[in-house]
């Protein structure tokens, strides 16, 4: 069964068509890049997939079910903006996640935090922006979820942090689960991806494998993106 499936998915905000008849599916074990210029509908799609928005038309399902209480248990979501409570210490945050999510892997989270020399007593608000993003990603990847929805996980961080985040995603790879990463920093993520979805003005313009693009077009996904979305 597909982990994520969209069929004729539309979302309108007033007269703006944020998503227009989008259909695709994501299979278990795949790491998929959701790529598109600013305002192409990436965040809208991710929010529809985890039930923060409802479709205007069409359907979206996670593991065969419409987004809701049950699907949320299967989805680990990294929002665009840091959303962890900043007054908490790392230790409190770990307990908070354990209380909320039965699939939270405490040992995995501790190990990753340890690896970054983040002390349990340190408060989130004392951390730099990059460290906060790392901590939040660790929380998200420490869940044994079926679908990881990562909205711009590498947007505002330095290249070293970017590498760390990407290797965390690879290191937590699970053949039963799927990962959807939205970004416009394609050159950095393309080696990590199985396939890519190109969104443009709310429409899905391409779904293809990364190596398939390189094989057929003789160019990287980044180069193809620049060609397709040339201003």
């Amino acid at each position: 069964m597909s982990v994520l499936e969209c069929n004729g998915l539309c979302k309108r905000f007033g007269r703006t068509e944020a998503l227009d008849r989008v259909s695709f599916s994501v299979e278990p074990g795949r790491i998929v890049g959701l790529l598109g210029p600013n305002g192409s509908g990436k965040t809208t799609l991710i929010k529809l997939a985890n039930g923060l928005l409802t479709p205007s038309e069409g359907t979206v399902t996670v593991c065969g079910r419409a987004p809701g209480k049950e699907s949320r248990a299967a989805v680990s979501y990294l929002p665009e903006r840091t959303a962890i409570p900043t007054w908490m210490s790392t230790a409190q945050l770990l307990e908070f996640y354990r209380d909320f999510y039965p699939d939270f892997r405490m040992d995995a989270a501790r190990e990753m935090l340890d690896h970054l020399d983040i002390r349990p007593g340190q408060r989130i608000k004392q951390m730099s922006k990059g460290t906060r993003e790392k901590v939040q990603l660790i929380m998200v990847m420490s869940r044994a979820a079926q679908l990881y929805l990562l909205d711009e996980p590498i947007g505002g961080v330095d290249p070293a942090t970017r590498d760390y985040i990407l290797s965390t995603i690879i290191g937590n790879y699970n053949p039963e689960a799927a990962v959807v990463i939205s970004t416009h920093l394609i050159a950095d993520v393309e080696k990590v991806l199985d396939e890519v979805l190109f969104l443009n003005r709310g429409q899905l313009v391409l779904q293809s494998g990364v190596d398939q693009i390189r094989e057929e077009k003789g160019m990287s996904v980044d180069a193809l993106f620049r060609e397709v979305f040339k201003c």
């Binding site: 790879y173 990590v192 199985d194 190596d211 390189r214 003789g218």
Partner: protein
């Protein structure tokens, strides 16, 4: 191992090439157990499925074999490793010759230049007392 990728070729074929270089150069010794696909993927910063695909192809070529529970190993067949080395060398030579032809050299001149270059290398080596 230092992994580097160009933008014009599929990632899996670049992985195959680089693992071959690793085997040929002895970084992965004959009969040595290879790291797991996940560890190699993390190290190279690539998708685990892509690394798996590279391994499957190397296995099909025979340079690598897997034992059901123990993992994946480099072949002990040195003739096969020698052949892979020769194949990689021939590819480098073809690329080199093509580049020289583009510069306007003739095949004979290319050979002469190579000879001259290696003679100078030898002199320098002696000079440094190596």
């Amino acid at each position: 191992m230092r992994w580097q990728f160009s933008n014009d070729a599929p990632i899996y074929s670049q992985l195959i090439e680089q693992i071959k270089v690793g085997i040929v150069s002895g970084m992965f010794a004959p009969g040595e157990r290879l790291p797991s696909v996940r560890d190699l993927a993390t190290e190279a910063g690539v998708n685990p499925n892509t690394m798996q695909r590279a391994m499957t192809e190397l296995e099909r070529d025979g340079l690598v074999y897997s034992q059901r529970t123990a993992g994946r190993f480099v072949t002990e067949d040195r003739t096969m490793i020698e052949a892979a080395k020769r194949e990689l060398a021939e590819r480098h030579i073809r690329t080199f010759v093509a580049a020289m032809l583009r510069l306007g050299y003739e095949r004979k001149e290319i050979a002469a230049l190579l000879k001259q270059e290696s003679a100078e290398e030898e002199k320098t080596d002696v000079g440094f007392g190596v």
